[in-house]
Protein backbone atom coordinates (compact mmCIF):
# COMPACT_ATOMS: atom_id res chain seq x y z
CA UNK A 1 0.00 0.00 0.00
CA UNK A 2 2.85 2.33 0.91
CA UNK A 3 4.41 1.72 -2.47
CA UNK A 4 1.11 2.55 -4.15
CA UNK A 5 0.85 5.85 -2.30
CA UNK A 6 4.42 6.72 -3.22
CA UNK A 7 3.70 6.01 -6.84
CA UNK A 8 0.50 8.02 -6.63
CA UNK A 9 2.39 10.94 -5.11
CA UNK A 10 5.07 10.67 -7.78
CA UNK A 11 2.48 10.65 -10.52
CA UNK A 12 0.75 13.59 -8.92
CA UNK A 13 3.96 15.61 -8.92
CA UNK A 14 5.23 14.55 -12.34
CA UNK A 15 2.04 15.12 -14.31
CA UNK A 16 1.59 18.79 -13.27
CA UNK A 17 5.31 19.35 -13.82
CA UNK A 18 5.03 18.02 -17.35
CA UNK A 19 1.90 20.08 -17.89
CA UNK A 20 3.59 23.25 -16.69
CA UNK A 21 6.65 22.56 -18.81
CA UNK A 22 4.34 22.18 -21.79
CA UNK A 23 2.79 25.58 -21.20
CA UNK A 24 6.21 27.21 -21.19
CA UNK A 25 6.45 26.85 -24.99
CA UNK A 26 3.84 29.50 -25.83
CA UNK A 27 5.25 33.00 -25.98
CA UNK A 28 8.84 34.13 -25.68
CA UNK A 29 9.56 37.26 -23.71
CA UNK A 30 5.86 37.99 -23.20
CA UNK A 31 6.70 41.36 -21.65
CA UNK A 32 9.14 42.17 -24.46
CA UNK A 33 12.74 43.28 -24.19
CA UNK A 34 13.02 47.02 -23.50
CA UNK A 35 15.11 49.10 -25.87
CA UNK A 36 18.62 49.44 -24.53
CA UNK A 37 20.59 52.51 -25.52
CA UNK A 38 24.21 51.69 -26.11
CA UNK A 39 27.32 53.60 -26.97
CA UNK A 40 28.44 53.20 -30.56
CA UNK A 41 31.77 51.78 -29.36
CA UNK A 42 30.07 49.25 -27.09
CA UNK A 43 29.56 45.64 -28.10
CA UNK A 44 25.86 44.83 -28.36
CA UNK A 45 24.16 41.58 -27.48
CA UNK A 46 23.37 41.00 -31.15
CA UNK A 47 26.77 40.20 -32.58
CA UNK A 48 28.49 38.65 -35.55
CA UNK A 49 32.08 38.24 -36.60
CA UNK A 50 31.86 40.99 -39.21
CA UNK A 51 32.18 44.77 -39.20
CA UNK A 52 30.20 46.36 -36.38
CA UNK A 53 29.71 49.83 -35.01
CA UNK A 54 32.33 49.49 -32.28
CA UNK A 55 34.90 48.54 -34.93
CA UNK A 56 33.91 51.50 -37.08
CA UNK A 57 34.30 53.91 -34.16
CA UNK A 58 37.65 52.49 -33.04
CA UNK A 59 39.09 52.41 -36.56
CA UNK A 60 37.91 55.84 -37.69
CA UNK A 61 39.02 57.49 -34.43
CA UNK A 62 42.50 56.09 -34.93
CA UNK A 63 42.61 57.16 -38.59
CA UNK A 64 41.41 60.70 -37.88
CA UNK A 65 44.08 61.15 -35.19
CA UNK A 66 46.70 59.77 -37.56
CA UNK A 67 45.85 62.12 -40.42
CA UNK A 68 45.92 65.20 -38.18
CA UNK A 69 49.34 64.34 -36.78
CA UNK A 70 51.28 64.17 -40.04
CA UNK A 71 53.46 67.22 -40.91
CA UNK A 72 51.82 67.65 -44.32
CA UNK A 73 48.59 68.50 -42.52
CA UNK A 74 49.76 69.81 -39.14
CA UNK A 75 52.36 72.22 -40.62
CA UNK A 76 50.73 73.07 -43.94
CA UNK A 77 50.96 76.76 -44.86
CA UNK A 78 47.95 76.50 -47.16
CA UNK A 79 44.98 74.50 -45.96
CA UNK A 80 45.15 71.12 -47.77
CA UNK A 81 42.10 70.03 -49.75
CA UNK A 82 41.15 66.37 -49.49
CA UNK A 83 38.89 64.26 -51.66
CA UNK A 84 37.48 61.01 -50.33
CA UNK A 85 37.69 58.03 -52.66
CA UNK A 86 35.39 55.06 -51.97
CA UNK A 87 36.77 52.34 -49.73
CA UNK A 88 37.35 48.99 -51.43
CA UNK A 89 35.81 46.02 -49.65
CA UNK A 90 37.74 42.79 -50.10
CA UNK A 91 36.26 41.03 -47.09
CA UNK A 92 33.43 38.52 -47.06
CA UNK A 93 31.13 41.03 -45.37
CA UNK A 94 28.95 43.33 -47.45
CA UNK A 95 29.16 46.73 -45.78
CA UNK A 96 28.13 50.31 -46.23
CA UNK A 97 31.54 51.49 -47.41
CA UNK A 98 30.81 55.20 -47.26
CA UNK A 99 30.23 55.09 -43.54
CA UNK A 100 33.98 54.78 -42.80
CA UNK A 101 34.96 57.84 -44.80
CA UNK A 102 31.94 59.79 -43.57
CA UNK A 103 33.00 59.24 -39.98
CA UNK A 104 36.67 60.01 -40.65
CA UNK A 105 35.64 63.20 -42.46
CA UNK A 106 33.33 64.31 -39.67
CA UNK A 107 35.98 63.51 -37.05
CA UNK A 108 38.57 65.51 -38.98
CA UNK A 109 36.20 68.40 -39.53
CA UNK A 110 35.35 68.43 -35.82
CA UNK A 111 38.89 68.12 -34.52
CA UNK A 112 41.11 69.79 -37.10
CA UNK A 113 39.87 73.34 -36.44
CA UNK A 114 40.02 74.13 -40.13
CA UNK A 115 43.43 72.55 -40.78
CA UNK A 116 41.94 70.48 -43.58
CA UNK A 117 39.11 71.02 -46.01
CA UNK A 118 37.15 68.34 -47.83
CA UNK A 119 35.91 68.72 -51.37
CA UNK A 120 32.36 67.56 -51.92
CA UNK A 121 32.67 65.55 -55.10
CA UNK A 122 29.38 63.79 -54.40
CA UNK A 123 27.70 67.16 -55.02
CA UNK A 124 29.49 67.85 -58.33
CA UNK A 125 26.48 67.29 -60.58
CA UNK A 126 24.31 69.57 -58.47
CA UNK A 127 27.06 72.18 -58.25
CA UNK A 128 27.67 72.13 -62.00
CA UNK A 129 23.97 72.55 -62.67
CA UNK A 130 23.83 75.51 -60.31
CA UNK A 131 26.88 77.07 -61.95
CA UNK A 132 25.29 76.64 -65.40
CA UNK A 133 22.11 78.32 -64.16
CA UNK A 134 24.20 81.24 -62.95
CA UNK A 135 26.11 81.41 -66.21
CA UNK A 136 22.87 81.47 -68.21
CA UNK A 137 21.53 84.24 -65.98
CA UNK A 138 18.57 82.18 -64.80
CA UNK A 139 19.62 82.70 -61.18
CA UNK A 140 21.66 85.43 -59.51
CA UNK A 141 25.39 85.09 -58.79
CA UNK A 142 27.46 86.78 -56.08
CA UNK A 143 30.67 86.30 -58.10
CA UNK A 144 31.59 85.93 -61.77
CA UNK A 145 30.20 82.48 -62.66
CA UNK A 146 32.44 82.10 -65.69
CA UNK A 147 35.51 81.82 -63.46
CA UNK A 148 36.27 78.24 -62.46
CA UNK A 149 36.25 78.10 -58.67
CA UNK A 150 35.86 74.39 -58.07
CA UNK A 151 38.98 73.41 -56.22
CA UNK A 152 41.25 70.56 -57.12
CA UNK A 153 42.38 68.00 -54.56
CA UNK A 154 45.74 68.12 -52.80
CA UNK A 155 45.24 64.69 -51.31
CA UNK A 156 43.06 61.65 -51.78
CA UNK A 157 41.97 59.72 -48.72
CA UNK A 158 40.87 56.14 -49.28
CA UNK A 159 40.97 52.75 -47.66
CA UNK A 160 40.69 49.07 -48.09
CA UNK A 161 39.12 46.34 -45.97
CA UNK A 162 40.64 42.88 -46.28
CA UNK A 163 39.76 39.74 -44.43
CA UNK A 164 40.74 36.22 -43.56
CA UNK A 165 38.21 33.64 -42.45
CA UNK A 166 38.60 30.28 -40.79
CA UNK A 167 35.69 27.95 -40.26
CA UNK A 168 35.99 24.66 -38.48
CA UNK A 169 33.78 22.56 -36.22
CA UNK A 170 35.15 24.68 -33.36
CA UNK A 171 33.62 27.85 -34.80
CA UNK A 172 34.14 30.71 -37.20
CA UNK A 173 36.97 33.19 -36.93
CA UNK A 174 37.24 36.40 -38.93
CA UNK A 175 40.23 38.70 -39.11
CA UNK A 176 39.73 42.08 -40.79
CA UNK A 177 42.49 44.50 -41.70
CA UNK A 178 41.32 48.08 -42.11
CA UNK A 179 43.93 50.17 -43.92
CA UNK A 180 43.64 53.80 -44.95
CA UNK A 181 46.04 56.01 -46.85
CA UNK A 182 46.47 59.62 -47.89
CA UNK A 183 47.92 60.07 -51.35
CA UNK A 184 49.45 63.27 -52.71
CA UNK A 185 47.37 64.14 -55.80
CA UNK A 186 50.35 65.84 -57.49
CA UNK A 187 53.13 63.38 -56.87
CA UNK A 188 51.16 60.14 -56.19
CA UNK A 189 53.22 59.72 -53.01
CA UNK A 190 51.51 58.02 -50.12
CA UNK A 191 52.11 60.59 -47.37
CA UNK A 192 50.34 58.67 -44.65
CA UNK A 193 49.07 55.18 -44.12
CA UNK A 194 47.71 53.43 -41.10
CA UNK A 195 45.92 50.21 -40.35
CA UNK A 196 43.85 48.63 -37.68
CA UNK A 197 43.12 44.94 -37.24
CA UNK A 198 40.28 43.20 -35.49
CA UNK A 199 39.75 39.49 -35.01
CA UNK A 200 36.54 37.90 -33.83
CA UNK A 201 35.40 34.36 -33.37
CA UNK A 202 32.33 32.49 -32.26
CA UNK A 203 30.49 29.21 -32.41
CA UNK A 204 26.81 28.99 -33.13
CA UNK A 205 24.36 26.95 -31.10
CA UNK A 206 24.24 23.23 -31.95
CA UNK A 207 20.69 23.76 -33.23
CA UNK A 208 22.22 25.65 -36.17
CA UNK A 209 25.06 23.28 -36.93
Amino acid sequence: MKISLRILALTGITAPALFLAGCATGVQNPSGVPVTEMKADERGFVAGTGVESQDLVAVTDKMARGVLAIPEIANAKVTPRIVLDPVVNETRFPINKDIFLTRIRSQLNEKSMGKVRFLDREMMKTLERERDLKRSGQVTASADPSVVEFRGADYFLTGKLQGLTTKTSAGTSDYILYSFRLTDARTSEIVWESSSEIKKQGLEDAAYR
Binding site: I3, T11, C23, V46, R92, K97, T172, D205
Partner: protein, 398 residues
Protein backbone atom coordinates in the same frame (compact mmCIF):
# COMPACT_ATOMS: atom_id res chain seq x y z
CA UNK B 1 -11.01 -4.37 1.50
CA UNK B 2 -7.38 -3.75 0.63
CA UNK B 3 -7.98 -5.10 -2.85
CA UNK B 4 -10.93 -2.85 -3.53
CA UNK B 5 -9.01 0.15 -2.17
CA UNK B 6 -6.07 -0.69 -4.41
CA UNK B 7 -8.37 -0.94 -7.40
CA UNK B 8 -9.90 2.41 -6.44
CA UNK B 9 -6.45 3.98 -6.26
CA UNK B 10 -5.42 2.33 -9.53
CA UNK B 11 -8.48 3.73 -11.26
CA UNK B 12 -7.71 7.18 -9.90
CA UNK B 13 -4.13 6.89 -11.01
CA UNK B 14 -5.24 5.94 -14.49
CA UNK B 15 -7.65 8.86 -14.46
CA UNK B 16 -4.90 11.21 -13.25
CA UNK B 17 -2.59 9.94 -15.97
CA UNK B 18 -5.23 10.37 -18.66
CA UNK B 19 -6.07 13.80 -17.31
CA UNK B 20 -2.42 14.79 -17.29
CA UNK B 21 -2.03 13.64 -20.90
CA UNK B 22 -5.08 15.67 -21.90
CA UNK B 23 -3.79 18.71 -20.04
CA UNK B 24 -0.34 18.35 -21.55
CA UNK B 25 -1.83 18.14 -25.01
CA UNK B 26 -4.14 21.11 -24.52
CA UNK B 27 -1.93 23.10 -22.21
CA UNK B 28 0.12 24.49 -25.07
CA UNK B 29 -2.80 26.24 -26.72
CA UNK B 30 -1.78 29.63 -25.35
CA UNK B 31 -0.23 31.06 -28.49
CA UNK B 32 -1.52 34.46 -29.56
CA UNK B 33 -4.24 34.32 -32.16
CA UNK B 34 -2.90 34.62 -35.69
CA UNK B 35 -4.03 37.67 -37.59
CA UNK B 36 -6.40 36.83 -40.43
CA UNK B 37 -4.87 37.35 -43.85
CA UNK B 38 -6.79 38.48 -46.90
CA UNK B 39 -4.94 37.09 -49.87
CA UNK B 40 -4.62 39.25 -52.96
CA UNK B 41 -2.71 36.91 -55.25
CA UNK B 42 0.27 39.28 -55.26
CA UNK B 43 3.14 37.30 -53.71
CA UNK B 44 4.78 40.45 -52.30
CA UNK B 45 1.62 41.83 -50.68
CA UNK B 46 0.58 38.41 -49.41
CA UNK B 47 4.10 37.63 -48.26
CA UNK B 48 4.27 40.84 -46.27
CA UNK B 49 0.91 40.07 -44.68
CA UNK B 50 2.15 36.57 -43.78
CA UNK B 51 5.34 38.03 -42.39
CA UNK B 52 3.42 40.46 -40.19
CA UNK B 53 1.27 37.62 -38.84
CA UNK B 54 4.14 35.15 -38.44
CA UNK B 55 6.02 34.57 -35.18
CA UNK B 56 9.28 36.50 -34.91
CA UNK B 57 11.24 33.29 -35.35
CA UNK B 58 9.83 32.90 -38.89
CA UNK B 59 10.60 36.44 -40.08
CA UNK B 60 13.70 35.48 -42.08
CA UNK B 61 11.74 32.75 -43.85
CA UNK B 62 9.22 35.31 -45.09
CA UNK B 63 12.00 37.78 -45.86
CA UNK B 64 13.59 35.16 -48.11
CA UNK B 65 10.35 34.36 -49.93
CA UNK B 66 9.33 37.99 -50.42
CA UNK B 67 12.81 38.99 -51.58
CA UNK B 68 12.81 36.32 -54.30
CA UNK B 69 9.35 37.38 -55.49
CA UNK B 70 10.36 41.05 -55.43
CA UNK B 71 13.53 40.40 -57.43
CA UNK B 72 11.51 38.55 -60.08
CA UNK B 73 9.03 41.45 -60.17
CA UNK B 74 11.91 43.98 -60.62
CA UNK B 75 11.06 45.51 -57.26
CA UNK B 76 14.62 46.03 -56.06
CA UNK B 77 13.71 48.22 -53.10
CA UNK B 78 11.44 45.54 -51.63
CA UNK B 79 13.98 42.79 -52.26
CA UNK B 80 16.76 44.81 -50.58
CA UNK B 81 14.57 45.66 -47.63
CA UNK B 82 13.93 42.00 -46.86
CA UNK B 83 17.39 40.69 -47.63
CA UNK B 84 18.96 43.40 -45.50
CA UNK B 85 16.65 42.39 -42.67
CA UNK B 86 17.51 38.72 -42.97
CA UNK B 87 21.24 38.83 -43.72
CA UNK B 88 22.47 40.23 -40.38
CA UNK B 89 20.56 37.40 -38.70
CA UNK B 90 21.69 34.56 -40.94
CA UNK B 91 25.23 35.90 -41.16
CA UNK B 92 25.72 36.30 -37.40
CA UNK B 93 26.65 33.82 -34.72
CA UNK B 94 23.51 32.54 -33.05
CA UNK B 95 24.58 31.44 -29.60
CA UNK B 96 22.97 31.42 -26.16
CA UNK B 97 19.50 31.97 -27.53
CA UNK B 98 16.47 30.64 -25.71
CA UNK B 99 14.72 29.42 -28.82
CA UNK B 100 17.76 27.38 -29.90
CA UNK B 101 17.88 25.80 -26.44
CA UNK B 102 14.19 25.03 -26.75
CA UNK B 103 14.80 23.46 -30.16
CA UNK B 104 17.33 21.08 -28.63
CA UNK B 105 15.17 20.23 -25.59
CA UNK B 106 13.99 16.67 -25.12
CA UNK B 107 10.53 17.58 -23.83
CA UNK B 108 8.21 20.12 -25.41
CA UNK B 109 10.91 21.39 -27.72
CA UNK B 110 10.96 20.85 -31.47
CA UNK B 111 13.47 22.12 -33.98
CA UNK B 112 11.00 24.53 -35.56
CA UNK B 113 11.03 26.48 -32.28
CA UNK B 114 14.37 27.95 -33.27
CA UNK B 115 14.69 31.18 -35.18
CA UNK B 116 14.65 30.26 -38.83
CA UNK B 117 17.87 30.96 -40.67
CA UNK B 118 17.51 28.19 -43.25
CA UNK B 119 19.74 25.40 -44.39
CA UNK B 120 23.05 26.37 -46.02
CA UNK B 121 21.63 26.31 -49.58
CA UNK B 122 18.90 28.74 -48.49
CA UNK B 123 21.35 31.10 -46.78
CA UNK B 124 23.63 30.96 -49.79
CA UNK B 125 20.75 32.03 -52.01
CA UNK B 126 19.98 35.03 -49.78
CA UNK B 127 23.55 36.21 -50.32
CA UNK B 128 23.43 35.33 -54.02
CA UNK B 129 20.32 37.45 -54.55
CA UNK B 130 21.73 40.33 -52.48
CA UNK B 131 24.85 40.21 -54.63
CA UNK B 132 22.73 40.71 -57.76
CA UNK B 133 21.34 43.88 -56.20
CA UNK B 134 24.72 45.15 -54.98
CA UNK B 135 26.19 44.69 -58.45
CA UNK B 136 23.20 46.42 -59.99
CA UNK B 137 23.81 49.35 -57.59
CA UNK B 138 27.39 49.68 -58.74
CA UNK B 139 28.93 47.95 -55.71
CA UNK B 140 30.58 44.86 -57.20
CA UNK B 141 32.94 44.58 -54.21
CA UNK B 142 29.98 44.12 -51.89
CA UNK B 143 28.59 41.57 -54.36
CA UNK B 144 31.93 39.76 -54.12
CA UNK B 145 31.65 39.82 -50.32
CA UNK B 146 28.30 38.03 -50.69
CA UNK B 147 29.83 35.37 -52.97
CA UNK B 148 32.62 34.78 -50.48
CA UNK B 149 30.25 34.43 -47.54
CA UNK B 150 28.02 32.14 -49.62
CA UNK B 151 30.91 29.84 -50.35
CA UNK B 152 31.91 29.88 -46.67
CA UNK B 153 28.37 28.90 -45.63
CA UNK B 154 28.58 25.96 -48.00
CA UNK B 155 31.79 24.82 -46.32
CA UNK B 156 29.58 23.17 -43.67
CA UNK B 157 29.12 20.11 -45.90
CA UNK B 158 30.15 16.83 -44.30
CA UNK B 159 32.12 15.51 -47.26
CA UNK B 160 35.16 17.49 -48.39
CA UNK B 161 34.30 17.31 -52.08
CA UNK B 162 30.99 19.13 -51.46
CA UNK B 163 32.45 21.93 -49.33
CA UNK B 164 32.24 25.34 -51.00
CA UNK B 165 31.40 23.78 -54.35
CA UNK B 166 29.17 26.44 -55.92
CA UNK B 167 30.64 27.09 -59.34
CA UNK B 168 29.08 30.52 -59.80
CA UNK B 169 30.14 31.84 -56.40
CA UNK B 170 33.80 31.29 -57.23
CA UNK B 171 33.38 32.33 -60.86
CA UNK B 172 31.67 35.61 -59.96
CA UNK B 173 34.10 36.28 -57.10
CA UNK B 174 36.92 36.12 -59.62
CA UNK B 175 34.97 38.13 -62.18
CA UNK B 176 34.45 41.01 -59.74
CA UNK B 177 38.15 40.93 -58.84
CA UNK B 178 39.10 40.99 -62.52
CA UNK B 179 36.74 43.90 -63.15
CA UNK B 180 38.26 45.77 -60.18
CA UNK B 181 41.74 45.27 -61.65
CA UNK B 182 42.66 42.58 -59.14
CA UNK B 183 43.62 39.00 -59.81
CA UNK B 184 40.61 36.73 -60.26
CA UNK B 185 42.53 33.78 -61.66
CA UNK B 186 42.52 31.68 -58.46
CA UNK B 187 38.77 31.96 -58.10
CA UNK B 188 38.34 31.18 -61.81
CA UNK B 189 40.51 28.08 -61.45
CA UNK B 190 38.46 26.90 -58.45
CA UNK B 191 35.23 27.48 -60.37
CA UNK B 192 36.53 25.62 -63.43
CA UNK B 193 37.68 22.71 -61.27
CA UNK B 194 34.18 22.35 -59.82
CA UNK B 195 32.31 22.86 -63.10
CA UNK B 196 32.00 19.12 -63.79
CA UNK B 197 33.32 19.29 -67.33
CA UNK B 198 31.53 22.50 -68.35
CA UNK B 199 33.92 25.02 -69.87
CA UNK B 200 33.47 28.36 -68.17
CA UNK B 201 33.71 31.47 -70.34
CA UNK B 202 36.88 33.49 -69.71
CA UNK B 203 36.37 36.82 -67.95
CA UNK B 204 35.53 39.68 -70.28
CA UNK B 205 36.24 42.70 -68.10
CA UNK B 206 34.80 45.00 -70.78
CA UNK B 207 31.42 43.29 -70.64
CA UNK B 208 28.87 45.80 -69.41
CA UNK B 209 25.75 43.61 -69.36
CA UNK B 210 25.57 40.85 -66.79
CA UNK B 211 22.78 38.31 -67.06
CA UNK B 212 21.75 36.22 -64.08
CA UNK B 213 19.26 33.50 -64.99
CA UNK B 214 17.46 30.87 -62.93
CA UNK B 215 15.09 28.08 -63.86
CA UNK B 216 13.41 24.96 -62.52
CA UNK B 217 11.91 24.40 -59.10
CA UNK B 218 14.16 24.03 -56.08
CA UNK B 219 14.25 21.40 -53.33
CA UNK B 220 11.41 20.73 -50.90
CA UNK B 221 11.90 19.60 -47.30
CA UNK B 222 10.04 16.86 -45.49
CA UNK B 223 10.46 14.93 -42.28
CA UNK B 224 11.61 11.34 -42.66
CA UNK B 225 12.17 8.58 -40.12
CA UNK B 226 9.68 7.07 -37.68
CA UNK B 227 8.70 10.41 -36.15
CA UNK B 228 9.72 12.88 -38.85
CA UNK B 229 13.03 13.40 -37.05
CA UNK B 230 15.13 13.26 -40.19
CA UNK B 231 15.41 16.29 -42.44
CA UNK B 232 14.92 14.99 -45.98
CA UNK B 233 14.66 16.68 -49.35
CA UNK B 234 12.26 15.98 -52.14
CA UNK B 235 14.13 16.76 -55.33
CA UNK B 236 12.54 16.46 -58.73
CA UNK B 237 14.63 17.21 -61.75
CA UNK B 238 12.97 20.19 -63.45
CA UNK B 239 12.23 20.13 -67.15
CA UNK B 240 14.26 23.24 -67.96
CA UNK B 241 17.93 22.22 -68.18
CA UNK B 242 19.31 25.26 -69.98
CA UNK B 243 18.29 28.63 -71.40
CA UNK B 244 19.20 30.96 -74.23
CA UNK B 245 18.67 34.67 -74.67
CA UNK B 246 18.33 36.05 -78.17
CA UNK B 247 19.35 39.73 -78.13
CA UNK B 248 20.80 42.15 -80.64
CA UNK B 249 21.32 39.44 -83.26
CA UNK B 250 23.21 37.09 -80.97
CA UNK B 251 22.16 34.07 -78.95
CA UNK B 252 23.56 34.08 -75.43
CA UNK B 253 23.84 30.64 -73.88
CA UNK B 254 22.77 30.33 -70.26
CA UNK B 255 23.75 26.82 -69.16
CA UNK B 256 23.12 25.61 -65.60
CA UNK B 257 26.29 26.06 -63.57
CA UNK B 258 24.77 25.32 -60.18
CA UNK B 259 21.95 23.05 -59.05
CA UNK B 260 20.23 23.71 -55.70
CA UNK B 261 18.81 20.17 -55.59
CA UNK B 262 22.38 18.91 -55.62
CA UNK B 263 23.46 21.47 -53.02
CA UNK B 264 20.58 20.66 -50.64
CA UNK B 265 21.24 16.92 -50.76
CA UNK B 266 25.03 16.98 -50.44
CA UNK B 267 25.36 18.73 -47.11
CA UNK B 268 25.42 15.52 -45.12
CA UNK B 269 24.52 15.10 -41.47
CA UNK B 270 23.87 18.01 -39.15
CA UNK B 271 24.64 18.16 -35.43
CA UNK B 272 20.90 18.66 -34.95
CA UNK B 273 20.25 15.35 -36.71
CA UNK B 274 22.17 13.53 -33.97
CA UNK B 275 20.22 15.38 -31.27
CA UNK B 276 16.89 14.57 -32.93
CA UNK B 277 18.03 11.00 -33.54
CA UNK B 278 18.70 10.58 -29.81
CA UNK B 279 15.31 12.08 -29.01
CA UNK B 280 13.66 9.64 -31.43
CA UNK B 281 15.38 6.67 -29.77
CA UNK B 282 14.19 7.90 -26.36
CA UNK B 283 10.66 8.54 -27.63
CA UNK B 284 10.40 5.13 -29.19
CA UNK B 285 11.94 3.44 -26.15
CA UNK B 286 9.67 5.23 -23.69
CA UNK B 287 6.62 4.41 -25.77
CA UNK B 288 7.50 0.72 -25.99
CA UNK B 289 8.35 0.58 -22.27
CA UNK B 290 4.97 2.18 -21.56
CA UNK B 291 3.21 -0.45 -23.69
CA UNK B 292 5.00 -3.29 -21.93
CA UNK B 293 4.33 -1.83 -18.47
CA UNK B 294 0.64 -1.26 -19.16
CA UNK B 295 0.18 -4.75 -20.55
CA UNK B 296 2.04 -6.04 -17.48
CA UNK B 297 -0.25 -4.01 -15.22
CA UNK B 298 -3.34 -5.52 -16.83
CA UNK B 299 -1.93 -9.03 -16.42
CA UNK B 300 -0.93 -8.36 -12.81
CA UNK B 301 -4.34 -6.85 -12.03
CA UNK B 302 -5.94 -10.13 -13.09
CA UNK B 303 -3.82 -12.14 -10.65
CA UNK B 304 -4.91 -12.76 -7.07
CA UNK B 305 -3.05 -11.48 -4.03
CA UNK B 306 -1.84 -8.20 -2.49
CA UNK B 307 1.50 -8.32 -4.28
CA UNK B 308 -0.26 -8.62 -7.61
CA UNK B 309 -2.27 -5.47 -6.93
CA UNK B 310 0.81 -3.54 -5.86
CA UNK B 311 2.69 -4.75 -8.90
CA UNK B 312 -0.22 -3.79 -11.15
CA UNK B 313 -0.29 -0.36 -9.59
CA UNK B 314 3.45 0.14 -9.97
CA UNK B 315 3.50 -1.08 -13.56
CA UNK B 316 0.45 1.01 -14.39
CA UNK B 317 2.04 4.14 -12.99
CA UNK B 318 5.30 3.43 -14.80
CA UNK B 319 3.40 2.74 -18.03
CA UNK B 320 1.46 5.99 -17.80
CA UNK B 321 4.59 7.99 -17.04
CA UNK B 322 6.48 6.35 -19.89
CA UNK B 323 3.64 7.12 -22.27
CA UNK B 324 3.55 10.69 -21.01
CA UNK B 325 7.30 11.06 -21.45
CA UNK B 326 7.09 9.62 -24.96
CA UNK B 327 4.23 11.95 -25.91
CA UNK B 328 6.11 14.93 -24.53
CA UNK B 329 9.30 14.12 -26.45
CA UNK B 330 9.57 16.26 -29.53
CA UNK B 331 11.62 14.95 -32.36
CA UNK B 332 10.35 16.57 -35.54
CA UNK B 333 12.97 18.08 -37.80
CA UNK B 334 12.52 21.67 -38.91
CA UNK B 335 10.97 21.56 -42.36
CA UNK B 336 10.22 25.26 -42.76
CA UNK B 337 11.56 26.03 -46.21
CA UNK B 338 12.23 28.77 -48.68
CA UNK B 339 9.66 27.43 -51.10
CA UNK B 340 10.17 29.65 -54.14
CA UNK B 341 13.77 28.89 -54.95
CA UNK B 342 14.85 27.79 -58.42
CA UNK B 343 16.74 24.60 -59.17
CA UNK B 344 19.36 25.89 -61.60
CA UNK B 345 21.49 29.02 -61.72
CA UNK B 346 23.22 30.53 -64.71
CA UNK B 347 25.19 33.60 -65.72
CA UNK B 348 26.51 35.27 -68.84
CA UNK B 349 28.29 38.56 -69.56
CA UNK B 350 28.19 40.47 -72.84
CA UNK B 351 28.90 43.84 -74.35
CA UNK B 352 26.05 46.02 -75.56
CA UNK B 353 25.81 49.71 -76.36
CA UNK B 354 23.43 51.73 -74.17
CA UNK B 355 19.81 51.56 -75.33
CA UNK B 356 16.70 49.39 -75.38
CA UNK B 357 16.77 45.91 -76.85
CA UNK B 358 13.96 43.46 -77.60
CA UNK B 359 14.98 40.00 -76.43
CA UNK B 360 13.61 36.46 -76.30
CA UNK B 361 14.33 34.09 -73.46
CA UNK B 362 13.87 30.39 -74.15
CA UNK B 363 14.32 27.33 -71.98
CA UNK B 364 15.46 23.93 -73.21
CA UNK B 365 14.99 20.41 -71.88
CA UNK B 366 17.77 17.88 -71.28
CA UNK B 367 17.95 17.01 -74.99
CA UNK B 368 18.19 20.68 -76.00
CA UNK B 369 14.62 21.01 -77.32
CA UNK B 370 12.95 24.36 -76.65
CA UNK B 371 10.18 24.05 -74.10
CA UNK B 372 6.99 25.49 -75.53
CA UNK B 373 5.03 27.70 -73.19
CA UNK B 374 8.04 28.93 -71.23
CA UNK B 375 9.35 31.44 -73.79
CA UNK B 376 9.46 35.04 -72.54
CA UNK B 377 9.53 38.13 -74.75
CA UNK B 378 11.41 40.91 -73.03
CA UNK B 379 12.57 44.47 -73.49
CA UNK B 380 15.94 45.04 -71.89
CA UNK B 381 17.49 48.39 -71.16
CA UNK B 382 21.24 48.95 -71.07
CA UNK B 383 22.30 51.93 -68.96
CA UNK B 384 24.60 54.61 -70.26
CA UNK B 385 26.25 54.89 -66.83
CA UNK B 386 29.67 53.56 -65.91
CA UNK B 387 28.17 50.83 -63.77
CA UNK B 388 27.29 47.44 -65.23
CA UNK B 389 23.74 46.71 -66.32
CA UNK B 390 22.59 43.72 -64.30
CA UNK B 391 19.68 41.74 -65.74
CA UNK B 392 17.87 39.12 -63.70
CA UNK B 393 15.85 36.51 -65.58
CA UNK B 394 13.70 33.83 -63.98
CA UNK B 395 11.46 31.05 -65.19
CA UNK B 396 9.60 31.25 -61.88
CA UNK B 397 6.49 33.36 -61.68
CA UNK B 398 6.48 34.27 -58.00
Amino acid sequence: MVKSLSRFIFRRLALAGAGAVALVLTGCATLPERKEIRYTGDPIVDGNAERAAAPVRDRALWDFRIAASALRANNDAEAKLHLDDAIPLIGGILANTDDAKKARRLFFGGESNKTFIGEPYERVMAYYYRAVLYWRDGQPDNARACYRTGQLIDSDAETAEYKGDYVLLDYLDGFVSAKLSSDGSDAFARAQAGAKGKKLPPYDTSANVLIFAEYGTGPRKYGGGEFGEQLKFFVKDSTAHSATLAINGQTVRLPAYDDLNFQATTRGGRTMDFILGDHAVFKSGADKAGDVALVGAVIAANQRGRNADTTALALGAFGVLSKLASAATTVKADIRMWDNLPQRLSFAALRLAPGDYPATLEFQDASGRTLAGLTQTLSLHVDATERDTVIFLSELKR
